[in-house]
């Protein structure tokens, strides 16, 4: 099917490609060049425009406008020069994305300073902004997800409020939709609400106008059975009405069907001759091997209650997703404009699990739809949207499939009084999740019903230009949550000062917080571990009253434009984050009866007979993370044929009050401390006087000044784009990540430094079609970029881009 679609797009593009160029004008370029200013000034506007068209905008001028004089709208909620932006912000245009050869939105973010992008499986990425990742560590893989960055599409949050984080494959949009991606670094809750802790990624879709191509898109195919495609059809109907329909598709496979199983002391695989191969370290196994793996006690590593074929329905698949979107714009004469969009996406990926299995890989399926309405009535901006659908966060695992609904509504007023801009606003969000439709009578989900998170917020932003040049900004936002039932404040104070035309210095102090997530407030999941290492039951419980993770940050920035074709930027930041929390062991209970002593000869069997039950509850911890860092970046249009860009970020994160124990070590400590009390209390147990032993004791020792190694200390990118002749463009970029050490509840892994080199070469067939070859990771460095995940290696593609 995918090949058919690809061929269809290819055929269409070729037909479009061989169409003829538009007709030429009556005046010649030479005639225009010969005209004096006086003569030109006497031309009527139509002829002047025709003359200008003949002269054309120089490539240099166009590139300078594109790369050096970019606009950004997310830092102040209105378009301004990125050079003047009060916050650390970057705009990535569709032209830059196309140039880079990125095949996913996530990968394109490697072009943005401060963004850490690590591939997990072919086309599935971890994306973090500045860091604070894997905190708290030594717990489930969900704590590796980025819960600190708010992702929006046209201002609509696309965020997973179940676990926190961004489920990237559920983005309904593809490259054909995108006009630009804006990234604001640093806390921005005062502007956008919770979860903009380390920043905001705002994907802004293209507006259709009379210059828009009727049909445009691209398609490519390559190794590891990688196929991607996107298409957009746009039409300006006149009278202020525009429409667009877009679609995107990805199919990407892994180069293995094996899965990574976390290491365990004495883990072994029985061989055919009655012996055992022992593996103390984690590694990749086939599904058949995974089912046969046992621990040192001979108990199975995999969950005997699991159906492996359900867990890994297509182990060779990395990512398959498609999305369709529709846009209607109505801008009647007058003061109002309306933009309505809606769409649907369907996705299935094998990536890092959001569950708690002994493997790092898990399946995730989503089919969601959305509707989004934006209206501007004079200076009043209104937005409302709804996202609904079904998501299965761990395919084949009971209780992870849910119906979701997310409603947002906001109103803001943009009020300019001379040099003062005031922007008051209100917003409401309701996110509901329900697992009950997918639970059979005797099954336990992790919510067991419909749960809701509601947030009501009020905000005010003031932006004042003092003395004609000193810009001062204060933004305040108050949020009332239902869980926890608390009021939170976030703020941002910023100032920018121009030094002449070519330099800007700026400073920011801001505070932001995460929102509540469903698993933190409403988990209610009983995990029956029958046949595996004790505890027999682990119950995960939410906590309706806890403190939300909060960060304070100070940042200083400097921008300079030494010439019109180069811009340099530097930022230095320091932050302090606290109120971290996790689903952590609270208590463990052994159920005692005289019968347990029949296993007195085997301590493990006796412990199993007590049917230990551990209660895991979401709770805050004392952990405090202090980060200092700096980013530098450069965009340089050396000539109309050569463009150079680079960025680099250095950071250091130090942890205070850090608990060095893994979740499972605490469970084991609790269980073993209780097990040791069995023998001294044997008489009471035998007589039935003692039927239960319980403890909530936990190791209290904490460490200070611990270097947090999960975030690379250095990462960045260097890119060069060379256009030797009009029809040929070769672009390359290298992305570097320094060493990182990742730790979860089962193991830790150190990832070696990695340099990923990508090259794309385009040939412009005519004004309607380009063909290209695209090599991602051309050096085929197949070391893994994310702990316990795939060694993806190089992917080599051919493709074409068309517009008509």
């Amino acid at each position: 099917m995918k090949k058919l679609i690809f061929l269809f797009i290819l055929t269409f593009a070729c037909v479009a490609g061989f169409s003829q160029d538009p007709q030429s004008k009556e005046m010649t370029r030479e005639q225009v060049l010969d005209m004096s200013v006086d003569e030109l000034s006497q031309l009527p506007l139509e002829d002047l425009m025709a003359a200008m068209d003949l002269m054309g905008v120089s490539s240099m001028e166009e590139l300078t406008n594109l790369l050096i004089n970019k606009g950004v709208s997310s830092a102040s909620k209105r378009v301004e020069n990125a050079f003047d932006s009060p916050l650390a912000s970057t705009t990535l245009t569709k032209e830059e994305i196309e140039m880079s050869g990125a095949t996913t939105i996530e990968e394109a973010l490697r072009l943005v300073p401060g963004v850490i992008v690590r591939e997990k499986t072919n086309g599935n990425f971890d994306v973090h902004l500045r860091g604070l990742d894997n905190l708290p560590q030594k717990n489930m893989l969900i704590y590796s997800e980025n819960t600190n960055t708010l992702l929006m599409i046209d201002g609509r949050p696309v965020f997973n409020y179940v676990h926190g984080g961004i489920v990237w494959e559920t983005l309904p949009v593809g490259f054909a939709d995108i006009d630009r991606i804006e990234v604001v670094r640093g806390p921005a809750s005062a502007l956008y609400g919770p979860n903009a802790v380390n920043g905001v990624i705002n994907i802004i879709t293209e507006k259709t106008n009379e210059s828009s191509s009727l049909v445009s898109g691209s398609a490519q195919m390559g190794t590891q059975n990688t196929y991607t495609g996107d298409i957009a059809m746009r039409k300006d109907w006149g009278n202020g009405i525009t429409t667009a329909v877009t679609s995107n598709y990805q199919h990407r496979e892994r180069d293995t069907e094996e899965i990574y199983v976390f290491g365990k002391e004495g883990m072994s695989l029985p061989d055919n001759s009655g012996g055992r191969n022992v593996f103390n370290e984690g590694r990749f196994f086939t599904l058949e091997q995974y089912e046969r793996l046992v621990d040192a006690n001979g108990l199975p590593i995999s969950d005997p209650l699991d159906d492996i074929d359900e867990l890994f329905q297509e182990p060779e698949l990395a990512r398959e997703n498609y999305g369709i979107n529709g846009y209607v714009g109505y801008n009647p004469e007058g003061i109002a404009s309306f933009d309505l969009s809606g769409g649907y996406q369907n996705s299935y990926v094998n990536s890092s699990t959001l569950g708690d299995p002994p493997t790092s890989l898990g399946g995730r399926k989503s089919n969601t739809w959305y509707g989004n309405l934006q209206a501007a009535i004079g200076r009043l901006k209104l937005q409302t949207n709804y996202t609904g659908g079904t998501q299965n966060f761990a395919t084949g695992d009971q209780g992870f499939k849910i119906d979701m609904g997310q409603f947002n509504a906001s109103a803001e007023f943009d009020w300019q009084i001379k040099s003062l801009n005031l922007r008051p606003g209100v917003s409401f969000q309701s996110a509901s999740y329900d697992d009950s439709p997918y639970l059979k009578e005797d099954e336990s989900g992790y919510l067991n019903g419909k749960k809701e998170l509601n947030t009501l917020a009020g905000s005010l932003r003031a932006d004042y230009l003092a003395f004609g040049k000193l810009r001062l900004i204060a933004a305040l936002r108050a949020e009332k949550y239902n869980y926890p039932d608390k009021l939170y404040g976030s703020w941002q104070f910023a100032g920018t000062l121009p030094i002449g035309e070519r330099q800007r210095i700026r400073a920011v102090y801001s505070r932001a917080n995460r929102s509540s997530f469903i698993i933190n407030s409403h988990s209610n999941y009983t995990w029956d571990r029958e046949g595996r290492m004790p505890p027999r039951f682990i119950h995960f419980a939410g906590n309706e009253d806890y403190d939300l993770m909060t960060v304070d940050m100070i940042e200083l920035g400097y921008r300079v434009r030494p010439a019109n074709n180069i811009v340099l930027e530097a930022e230095v930041f320091g932050s302090d984050s606290r109120n971290y929390g996790a689903l952590m062991p609270s208590s463990t209970t052994l159920h005692l009866s005289p019968e347990i002593f029949q296993y007195a000869e085997n301590e493990m069997m006796m412990l199993m007979a007590t049917q230990p039950r551990t209660n895991i509850v979401y709770q805050n911890m004392k952990l405090d993370a202090r980060q200092i860092g700096a980013s530098v970046s450069m965009d340089w249009v050396l000539s109309s044929k050569l463009i150079a860009k680079m960025h680099a970020t250095w950071q250091k994160t130090t942890l205070q009050d850090f608990s060095p124990y893994t979740r499972d070590e605490i469970i084991e400590m609790q269980m073993m401390s209780l097990a040791q009390q069995i023998e001294p209390n044997a008489m009471e147990i035998m007589t039935g006087q003692l039927t239960e032993l319980s403890t909530s004791a936990k190791p209290e020792d904490l460490q200070d000044d611990v270097e947090h190694k999960s975030t690379p200390s250095l990462w960045g990118m260097v890119s060069l784009t060379y256009k030797p002749i009009e029809k040929v463009e070769i672009s390359s970029y290298g992305y570097y990540l320094s060493e990182q050490t990742f730790a979860n509840q089962y193991a830790s892994q150190t990832i070696d430094p990695k340099f990923i080199l990508n090259i794309k070469a385009n040939y412009k067939v005519n004004n309607y079609a380009k063909v290209f070859v695209n090599a991602r990771n051309i050096l085929n460095d197949n070391s893994n970029e994310f702990a316990f995940m795939d060694k993806v290696g190089g992917i080599y593609l051919i493709g074409l881009r068309f517009n008509y």
Partner: protein, 168 residues
């Protein structure tokens, strides 16, 4: 060797000569806009004033034009300003790309005055510009917002609207 590298870098960083041609055309466009808009009784002033913010090259081109051409028999006077407060009574105010952030402030200061505000970045009509230049597919284009022309009490020719990208 070091000197050669430095010279090479300096030459690469130098401004392209193409930008002066662009400034010349933008000056001609401004001149043409002036001819295609009717100001109420020409503001009572004998001069037709264009104020330029943040583009010396364009100001120089306009000054050259002012020596040879008039607008409706009025002398063309070119002024330069660094911020919104410095702007004196003008018929046209041009805000350069690099000074785009001043757009909403200038619009607020000039509210209800008979002035045509021309910006140089796509999307600035939403912040009060009547006309804003942008480049697309190798061509210089402009967006025009009739509402932001009329709200300043100006009338414009339909020819101007027909040649621009109309935004509301």
């Amino acid at each position: 060797m070091k000197k050669i590298v430095i010279l090479l870098l300096l030459s690469l960083m130098a401004t392209s000569p193409a930008s002066s041609q662009m400034s010349q055309f933008k000056a001609l466009f401004l001149f043409n806009f002036a001819k295609n808009v009717n100001w109420p009784d020409n503001g009572g002033s004998p001069d037709f004033v264009i104020t330029v913010i943040g583009n010396n090259e364009l100001a120089e081109e306009l000054k050259g034009l002012a020596k040879i051409r008039k607008i409706n028999n009025s002398n063309l006077v070119i002024k330069e300003a660094r911020n919104a407060e410095e702007i004196s009574d003008s018929h046209i105010i041009y805000i350069s790309t690099t000074q785009s952030s001043l757009m909403p402030i200038v619009a607020s200061y000039q509210k209800d005055k008979p002035v045509l505000i021309v910006a140089d970045k796509q999307g600035l009509c939403a912040q009060g510009a009547a006309i804003s230049f942008f480049t697309a597919t190798g061509k210089l284009k402009f967006e025009i917002c009739p509402r932001n022309v009329e709200s300043h009490g100006l009338k414009f020719s339909q020819r101007l609207v027909a040649l621009g990208n109309v935004v509301q």
